[in-house]
């Protein structure tokens, strides 16, 4: 009952149980954070709108993104993954979501920022339905903890519109 094997087994089991409990409590403490993030996106301009050889529309744009996401960080946060997605409806598809830009924020200080950027990923439609289309730009954030449950939420900004005519 007091051999090395038993003692090692008991210590290991106890250690693992305590670690698991600590992870659970750390994750639970995230529920007590009530964040108040804010963000704004403006489209500086459309750089190009073309119809590709296979018939799909592609839009290229530059946007200004301003955000204050500092309140989302807790002591249990490892990083904040944010991305901007364009959402729109077409006669062919009732919902389209295309991610245009994303970033990883590792520290609270960097969570308040302003950036002007072209879309990182191509804004391509399934088809040729984008002329004059109204669309929303949604800023999504995904709080990835050091351990435990992940939280995600978003802020929808509407009122954007793609130009009527294709341009080179």
């Amino acid at each position: 009952m007091h051999s090395f094997g038993y003692r090692a087994n008991a210590v290991l089991t106890f250690a693992l149980t305590i670690l698991a409990l600590m992870c659970a409590i750390a994750s639970f403490s995230d529920n007590f954070n009530f964040p108040s993030p804010s963000a704004e996106i403006q489209i500086v301009g459309f750089n190009g709108f073309k119809k590709k050889p296979h018939g799909n529309d592609e839009v290229s744009l530059t946007m200004n993104i301003t955000a204050d996401l500092q309140s989302l960080f807790t002591w249990n946060t490892k990083q904040l993954f944010i991305f901007v997605a364009a959402e729109y409806e077409t006669p062919q598809n009732s919902l389209n979501q295309v991610s245009l830009w994303d970033a990883i924020i590792l520290a609270k200080e960097h969570a308040k920022f302003w950036i002007q950027t072209k879309n990182k990923y191509r804004f391509v439609d399934q088809g040729s339905n984008l002329r004059g289309k109204d669309f929303n730009l949604t800023l999504h954030w995904h709080v990835m903890p050091k351990t435990g449950k992940m939280f995600a939420d978003k802020l929808v900004m509407s009122g954007f519109r793609i130009p009527e005519e294709h341009s080179l």
Partner: protein
Amino acid sequence: MGWIAEHVESIKSMKIRDTLSQLITLGMIVSTALIIWKALMCLTGSESPVVVVLSGSMEPGFKRGDILFLHMSEAPFRAGEIVVYNVEGKQIPIVHRVIEVHEQENSGKVDILTKGDANDWNDRSLYAYGQNWLKPQQIMGRAVGFVPYAGWVTIIMTEKPIIKYILVGALGLLVITSKD
């Protein structure tokens, strides 16, 4: 070592009933583990409620060796969710983020595109030959939580099977020769 001699001694002096009772205890332990696993499968609705991250394509969020808890629901897939999916013909599931969704309400057709956070390119090159979009049926679950480093045990046992045999052998020996 005197430790091994001690254990060989105790094996020699065992009786039949004790042996049977040890075997049944072993069986109970294995069944309990299986029951817990199946119950988790029911609770989370996913075939594989816990997965180990095998590659670094989601760094710095998920590193190799982290364990992910999955949950599956009927809710439609939306951009930003971290999903685990299987490619037809390939065994190892992939954990990446959804970056594009195209959904047709009438026919129920949904096209999904995924990408690893640390990858520059989307996952098209990982999908089956000729497949440009992922189907919801291929997705096993959404990642809802994770525990860091806990999956290294599984990785080591898979990549160096000799350690698995040593561990199982030693555990078996311990259970059989315990004096309870």
